[in-house]
Symmetry: C2
């Protein structure tokens, strides 16, 4: 890819075209650029510059006598060199942080679903979230709580501060007083073990345990798929499909959008691939490997829970507000990282104090 150099005036005009096109969704004429007062020249001069921008592949005309529309390369130049990631307002930041903090003690599925929802409502775009596999999260402890009748609630907490829980049934006469023993033993086995290894570890150690504790652990082991495995379906989460239907570029032929949703695994891979380097990554139109995505852009960031990374981002038409979305995704991934890092608990508690404002 050849590095494109633009003069200051070219850049201003490119910017004006892109920002006007993002607002109106229509080709931008030379006179519209002049009307924007972004450059103090006539429309004829703007036309000359436009021709030069077109030669460089940054804009194009849908047809001979139309205004100009940004190309994918044009958006790329804009994202790399022109736009400034737009900061969120204090109010927006507070809303986001409050919402995410409220989710942070639940299980991974709830976190992912909640973040998707908030992100899509803020961005007014389709949001997609990929949960980290969770298999490499380290278990902190396991508790067993006797509920009413014969039901037992198993709760596992992880080093990142998340909880997973599952209910199973076991006759009261079978349990006796061995619930606490069983929980202590399992915690001893699993503390510091990755979630993904939990089942295997329990299985190998089980034989050495005397009854009646053994019976309890055996029942727990049967439930453990629900406790320790994250089903594929829970790993990818969409929210805000309605926003995509709003865009005039898709209101006519919306059928192909359905295709994007269909192959969840493929899209998850796509999102993961783009975000692995850390930071916020923007993928524009034709840069997407997936055919259905050639007319869409993707803004993704990553976050880390336990040992593994999750990704989240927004999907919309190439004509999207990159500045704002990059700012949004960046801020959300920052919150998530702080919240689920090893020292995350401190951050989490201090969020209540943050409501008082920064007087320190």
């Amino acid at each position: 890819m050849k590095k494109v150099e633009l003069t200051d005036r070219e850049e201003r005009i490119l910017r004006s075209i892109i920002e006007c096109h993002i607002k109106t969704a229509k080709p931008v004429s030379s006179s519209a650029v002049v009307r924007n007062r972004s450059v103090p020249v006539s429309s004829a001069t703007v036309r000359n510059v436009m021709r030069s921008l077109e030669d460089k592949g940054l804009i194009l005309q849908p047809h001979t006598s139309a205004g100009r529309v940004p190309t994918d390369s044009g958006y790329r130049y804009y994202v790399d060199n022109v736009m400034e990631p737009r900061d969120l307002t204090d109010q927006e930041r507070a809303d986001l942080e409050g919402g995410i903090v409220g989710l942070a003690t639940g299980d991974l599925g709830a976190v992912v679903a909640g973040v998707s929802r908030m992100m899509s409502d803020f961005a007014r775009q389709l949001a997609v979230t990929v949960a980290p596999s969770g298999e490499r999260e380290l278990i902190e402890q396991v508790k067993l709580v006797s509920l009413e009748a014969d039901r037992i609630l198993a709760v596992a907490t992880t080093r990142a501060g998340l909880t997973r829980s599952a209910v199973f049934e076991l006759g009261r006469d079978e349990v006796g007083g061995s619930l606490a023993d069983a929980a202590a033993l399992v915690t001893e086995w699993l503390s510091g073990t990755p979630v993904g290894d939990a089942e295997r570890t329990m299985k190998t150690r089980l034989s050495a345990v005397p009854e009646p504790t053994r019976r309890v652990i055996a029942a727990l082991l049967e439930t453990s798929p629900r406790l320790f495995r994250l089903r594929g379906v829970e790993r990818v989460h969409y929210e805000g499909a309605r926003y995509i239907l709003r865009h005039p570029e898709f209101s006519h032929s919306a059928a192909f959008i359905g295709e994007i949703f269909d192959d969840e695994e493929a899209l998850a891979e796509l999102v993961k691939g783009r975000a692995e380097r850390g930071g916020v990554s923007v993928t524009i139109g034709e840069e997407n490997p997936k055919k259905e995505m050639k007319r869409m852009s993707l803004v993704v960031g990553s976050y880390r829970i336990g040992g593994t990374f999750g990704q989240m981002g927004v999907i919309g038409p190439t004509r999207m507000r990159y500045g704002r979305l990059v700012g949004l995704v960046d801020y959300i991934s920052e919150i998530m990282d702080e919240l689920f890092s090893e020292g995350g608990r401190r951050t989490r508690r201090s969020s209540d104090e943050a409501a008082d404002g920064d007087r320190g």
Copy 2:
């Protein structure tokens, strides 16, 4: 509404038109009906019958020289008098039941989300679920579990067998040994109380409690919104927006579908209104009070958790497979009702045995 009477032949032809139109999405010609072999007459005779059906308002021609398309009244007659709710296959029943049973111990939000997902995948339509308010569910007991560091997990179980949980923080020195006391006390207060009254009850009783138990309950009370309140956003759940985009009738102008999603409250009211009588209710096209829904049909059923009803159903174009969808919604609401009724636990446990087959 005047009761429409049809001869046997008229009914067969109506049926043929509707079922053919559901398959092809195109107007059905007289010769297409003859080709279906549903009646042993010529196309001219079919045309005469069609005219009579058209006079009765059951079908219409989009334009003079086109075939016939069912009207909303036509679908209504078909649903009321012609179609038979199609039974699911044994495999489908087993899949559905297994899936729902797996959800039945989580919190209400997870149940609602999971059922939406399964329903939309089975129906290949947009599914919408309204959770019961949950305020009138009766609390069974409250447990407090000390997790690592200063975190405490509060778990409430309800008579219907659902669990709700929330994590809060409290300094270890502040808790002392009073966690069990606090839980026992709160359980005593709340057992048999509706979830909606829990906060108030706790608040009035708190003053009489001595330290240090009081401090624990005060902290629990602060968390109780997360434990006992279901946020509005969690009450309505959509899943499967992608299916709606597939339908040829919407692939052109998809924007208005976004409108349906926007006003969640209004749609929740609509769904609730239709399902209150119990059983499966079908609402077709113009029968819908909401403007955006005039071209859509709605198949809803209700289920009961604790004292209140929830609703769930599918939304699609009027051209939908009513027979199959009514069968599906009916079966799902049946499972839900069994699972969350007072005697539900037995059903739940017996689901493991059901895997062995019915030998009794």
